[in-house]
Symmetry: C2
Subunit: 297 residues, 2 copies
């Protein structure tokens, strides 16, 4: 399998999940439709759709019905999009640009952006609990539990809280690893976990995918830090050099560019090797581990 | 049954749900514990706990295990608390005082308040999906679905969006009724619905409780508008006269104080009469309908 197969698969998933998100977020009427417009503005804006790809590719390992995995993928992408909206707010990271477009609170206003984030988070659980997502209610409950745990104060929200704390405190390597495991790693891990839950995977397969997700998540974040230092603002679609400007410690500031890149590649190799038990079926996910390290956006 | 029985029952539920919330929101360690502290600051601050009372009292109609109904009650109260935190933000209603204490963003900061709201919302779904809440996964999924629908852009969030719109647009009576049905009514309705879901109530019982909740919700809101005009700021625990200052149309500004009070009492009577099918068992809920109209805070 060549990396062009991966790129095709990524593109196909991105197109399909955008279509599903479009369906799940129909425009309403009345003054409240402003919040739906803001939800759609962010959720349909594109992006790499790495998390949806992980859900679908992991679910494919267990031959899960694509309609199920796409709905779970859309739900997790909604949580990702809500986190972008809230993280970009003036009180948080105060970003004006995202995916090359004005951020939600710039395009609309702060109040609408806060509400759009809230509604996307809420909608994600509505989608997962719906029997259209899976016929077995225990599976749906497991998806809700896993996503809530990954997104809440012990996961993504907690990670963002530490990230704000890091503006005034020089974190050391283990603390940064923990921060990133919570802030971005938890949602990447739950994307893989969702595939395993939908596929009623064995305990061992759950462990393997968790280990894979853990390494991919960290590799992804190191690549993000590298892009912040080396990336082309136009390609990346958001302001670069932010961490250095904010005086924040990152993997790159602590390890240097060369060792950070080595570390990311090591993690990608390690991630790929976890998937040996899936043999041929794991190829696309193995490719992805290297792709997240070498992307330019 | 005298109204002192209701007051005792309200107080007992409030004490118990606060204990359950305390258990569900344990303080963590590390810098992210700031967000837990902010969640606890708002969730354990007290308040009337009307929604938890509705969950438990409705569940009692069907002899639901108290441990189940208390967890659902705590989850719905978390959503109520998150909505207070986000609605109080400077970009929204910009309130400094809530339940007689500094609001979350004043006590902590805006970023922490946004994250604490996000985490409370997330936690509510985690609690509902947990098998400790109910042994039947379909029941848990129904709770998640109902709460998500009531809280999202078609419910509470949509209502808050219309409320912000109302700052620049004089709404008329049907529009205000719709706004309030979404902004406060939907969560009150889902509190009653949760009791019915937990109790696997008949379709008819679901309808009856929905009708009850609808009338109680509207009566509650009219009473709120009356308190905003007539209430004692110290007793109410938040700034009064806000709607008039903002030039917002309310039930009271459109109907006048006398007719608004009459309307609230009419709704309370109507709410109580829906519960006839429950005979003696419905007494506490009938009392509550009148209590929400005549409260002083």
């Amino acid at each position: 399998m060549s990396s062009s197969d991966l790129k095709k698969a990524l593109k196909a998933t991105a197109t399909e999940v955008t279509r599903v998100l479009d369906d799940l977020l129909p425009m309403g009427e009345g003054p409240e439709s402003r919040v739906t417009e803001a939800m759609r503005y962010t959720a349909l804006a594109g992006g790499k759709r790495i998390r949806p790809f992980l859900v679908v590719a992991c679910a494919d390992l267990f031959s899960v019905d694509r309609k199920s995995s796409m709905r779970a993928a859309a739900a997790i992408e909604m949580v990702h999009c809500y986190s972008l909206i809230h993280d970009d707010l003036p009180a948080m990271d105060n970003d004006d640009l995202r995916r090359g477009k004005p951020t939600c609170h710039i395009k609309f206003d702060e109040a609408t952006a806060i509400l759009a984030g809230d509604a996307l988070l809420t909608k994600s659980f509505e989608v997962l609990a719906d029997e259209k997502t899976h016929g077995d209610a225990r599976v749906r409950c497991d998806l809700v539990s896993a996503l809530a745990l990954a997104s809440g104060e012990a996961g993504m929200v907690g990670g963002q809280m530490i990230d704000l704390f890091a503006e005034d405190h020089k974190l050391k390597m283990p603390e940064i690893t923990r921060l990133q495991r919570m802030k971005t790693g938890a949602l990447i891990a739950v994307a893989c976990e969702a595939g395993a839950i939908l596929g009623k995977a064995s305990e061992n397969a759950h462990h393997v995918l968790h280990a894979y997700a853990h390494d991919v998540g960290l590799a992804f974040q190191i690549a993000d830090d590298l892009l912040d230092v080396e990336g082309d603002e136009k390609k990346v679609g958001k302001k670069t050099g932010k961490d250095a400007d904010a005086g924040k410690a990152t993997f790159v500031s602590l390890l240097g560019v060369v060792r950070a890149r080595e570390q990311a590649e090591l993690l990608a190799d390690q991630a790929a090797s976890h998937l040996d038990i899936f043999e041929e079926k794991g190829k696309l996910l193995r490719e992805l581990a290297h792709y997240v390290v070498n992307r330019s956006a």
